[in-house]
């Protein structure tokens, strides 16, 4: 538990941040420490300077006796315990003072107390100079600096410890919060792996990065669920759609075998068998084609394509058939239609499926109008029929594989025609819409980008 917490990204993040903050505190503290130390030292130097000036003025105005007397008072005064003095005669002998006269090299600046014969833990700031023939040394103890240093270091130490404790606690808190959210995602993902696509990762609503990832996971799972559901439904539909021809096939085979055993001709049964096999194979073929087209590999075969020519060829193929049924198919192509990037063969199949769809549902005499136009960077193909149309609520569904309006599945076809059309449109980045035509039938419009 602890190990996993220490390894969690939340804890690590908090730890890195802590190290960063501590480094910043140490650098800033050190800088402040030296600035304060320098300021205090300068103050002491100024104080020593002033004291020295006062004493040397006494000497110049009143002479050596007054100076010695003043020094006598000063060295005895407990109020001046912070100050040290020494006055030596020209021979080097000390006249008066409360310290050992400093050596020449140590007579000015910061000096250790031991050098001055004092048993203290701090340093002194000294100034030495000549007053007449005498050598005067004035010093001030840096005890306050040492105290400030001590207080500062102690404070910094405590601050460091408090900061460390707060940061560690924060890290643990953050990591436990992060851990619980990651755990929620883990639990949700395990449920998805078990096939439960209804699972959702709970969102806090804060909109932070974990929330955003959770929302993305939820969307992905939802889409995945839809795909799996579609596949599941298609599988059921395939099973249903293939069962009928397979059953018929079985019956025909049995009949053919019976005829054969009786020594009768079985040509009719064999012909039925062949037809049933063809239905089964064409269903599989269509499914295979859809998945191949959806995979998008065919885009590499795109060429410059004349939509008008493709549609005219298809219309020409079907017009005889429509005329025999008492109807007609007309095609109107606006002049100057630019070519589009596409796959001739698939676009042919697209129009074949659409026209077959019109013919299949036209009932009586099929009347189909095909128009190709060019506007706003798109080549538009409109196919308008006089069939029963598609109810508005069903229009999106008909593009789904194996979907058929009549659930009884009495008309031929596996319900793959329009999903193949949709797959081909998607491959060409074309938009397809279904609307009601002027005659109350279906109006299919396809926008192909130029």
């Amino acid at each position: 538990m602890l190990r996993s917490r220490l390894r969690s990204s939340g804890f690590r993040l908090a730890l890195y941040f802590l190290l960063y903050v501590l480094a910043a505190v140490v650098i800033a503290g050190t800088a402040a420490f030296f600035v304060i130390q320098e300021e205090l030292s300068q103050r002491h130097e100024r104080m020593v300077d002033r004291e020295y000036t006062v004493l040397s003025n006494i000497y110049s105005r009143s002479g050596e006796d007054d100076l010695i007397e003043t020094l006598g008072v000063l060295t005895q005064s407990s109020r001046r315990a912070d100050y040290v003095y020494s006055l030596s005669d020209p021979d080097g002998g000390q006249v008066i003072g409360n310290i050992r006269p400093p050596s020449e090299s140590q007579s000015t600046g910061e000096v250790d107390s031991q050098e001055l014969g004092l048993d203290r833990d701090f340093r002194y700031f000294l100034k030495t100079g000549k007053v007449g023939e005498y050598t005067l040394t004035v010093g001030s103890s840096a005890e306050d600096i040492s105290e400030v240093e001590e207080v500062f270091l102690q404070g910094a130490g405590w601050a460091f410890l408090v900061l460390l404790a707060i940061s560690l606690a924060g890290g643990v808190l953050l990591s436990s919060r992060m851990n619980s959210r990651i755990q929620e995602i883990q639990i949700a993902m395990l449920k998805v792996a078990d096939g439960d696509f209804q699972t959702k990762v709970p969102l806090t609503g804060s909109g932070d990065d974990v929330d955003r990832i959770a929302a993305l996971i939820n969307t992905t799972v939802e889409k995945l669920g839809t795909v799996v559901e579609i596949n599941r439904r298609i599988t059921t539909d395939i099973a249903h759609d293939l069962k009928t021809p397979l059953n018929r096939l079985k019956i025909s085979v049995e009949k053919a075998m019976e005829s054969h055993l009786r020594g009768q001709a079985n040509d009719d049964e064999l012909s039925e068998i062949e037809k049933d096999c063809r239905v089964i194979i064409s269903t599989f073929d269509a499914l295979q084609r859809i998945s191949q087209i959806e995979a998008g590999a065919r885009r590499s075969r795109f060429r410059s394509t004349d939509i008008g020519k493709v549609l005219s060829n298809v219309v020409e193929f079907y017009s005889t058939h429509a005329e025999v049924a008492g109807g007609h198919i007309e095609v109107e192509i606006e002049p100057g239609i630019p070519s589009v990037r596409g796959d001739d063969e698939l676009l042919t199949q697209l129009f074949v499926n659409l026209i077959e769809n019109c013919l299949k549902h036209a009932g009586g005499a099929p009347n189909i109008k095909c128009r190709v136009r060019h506007a706003n960077g798109f080549v538009t193909a409109n196919l308008d029929d006089n069939g029963p149309g598609i109810p508005e609520r069903e229009r999106e569904n008909v593009f789904r594989s194996m979907y058929r309006l009549e659930k009884s599945r009495t008309k031929p076809g596996a319900g793959l025609g329009l999903s193949l059309v949709k797959a081909i449109c998607d491959l060409h980045e074309a938009k397809i819409t279904l609307n009601e035509s002027d005659s109350g039938g279906l109006l299919v419009s396809i926008w192909l980008p130029v």
């Binding site: 062949e274 065919r298 060829n313 079907y318 058939h321 698939l346 074949v352 077959e356 013919l359």
Partner: protein, 227 residues
């Protein structure tokens, strides 16, 4: 006419079915199931046509066709693909195959395609007039006459009749006609092709005593003079 056919197919059931079909029709047929052996045999022996499956152990069908063509072997090749995808078909044709067939196929379809390929050399002589019995097609003036009577045909009817006349006596399957005349590489669900053939028949046969255009049940159509 007996032809020598090499079949490269690893599915025993398919190859037996095809072999017995060809042998019944009086052709000589060798079957091999390994790609390497198949290529060796195809290049070493002289065949009239080679039928190659797309997926073979040892060597892929596509590689066999490429190797044959690279070795200068021009024997006609029919490619068998199990996926009805256009990519396999186009790639096969680009590799040097002469025709393709999607599995599962009817033997009559394969047989029709084999005979179309084995007759090909005789068509290399450019003809300007095609004749079958008393039916005459002038390819230059694009005119059709039967027994001296001019027959008006729509452009696609003309192309359809031309395909049938060029294949005189041989069967053209539904898919072959859809490919040749409309460039459709798939079989539409409706019986539109039948309507086209029926229209054509109405123009070239119905007004005359002897029918030339015949339906071959479950397979396709053939045009020939009375026997």
């Amino acid at each position: 006419m007996s032809v020598r056919i090499l079949i490269l197919e690893d599915d025993l059931k398919t190859s037996n079915y095809v072999k017995s079909g060809f042998e019944e029709a009086g052709h000589v047929c060798d079957v091999l199931s390994n790609g390497h052996d198949g290529l060796f045999q195809a290049v070493r022996e002289s065949y009239d046509v080679v039928v190659v499956d797309r997926m073979l152990p040892g060597m892929d069908g596509m590689a066999i066709v490429k190797a044959m063509r690279a070795a200068g072997n021009q024997t006609p090749v029919i490619f068998l693909t199990s996926v009805s995808g256009v990519d396999d078909r186009v790639e096969g044709l680009e590799a040097g195959a002469d025709d393709y067939l999607v599995k599962p196929f009817a033997f009559s379809e394969l047989s029709a395609r084999v005979s179309a390929l084995t007759r090909r050399p005789s068509l290399q002589v450019e003809q300007t007039v095609l004749r079958v019995h008393d039916l005459e097609m002038d390819l230059v003036r694009r005119r059709v006459k039967r027994a001296g009577t001019t027959i008006e045909l729509l452009p696609k009817e003309f192309t359809l009749l031309e395909a049938l006349m060029r294949a005189e006596g041989r069967v053209l399957t539904r898919t072959m006609l859809l490919e040749k005349v409309w460039d459709f590489h798939f079989d539409p669900e409706t019986s539109v092709l039948e309507t086209h053939v029926s229209r054509l028949r109405g123009k070239i046969d119905r007004p005359f005593d002897i029918p030339l255009l015949h339906t071959v049940r479950n397979t396709g159509y053939t045009l020939h003079a009375p026997e």
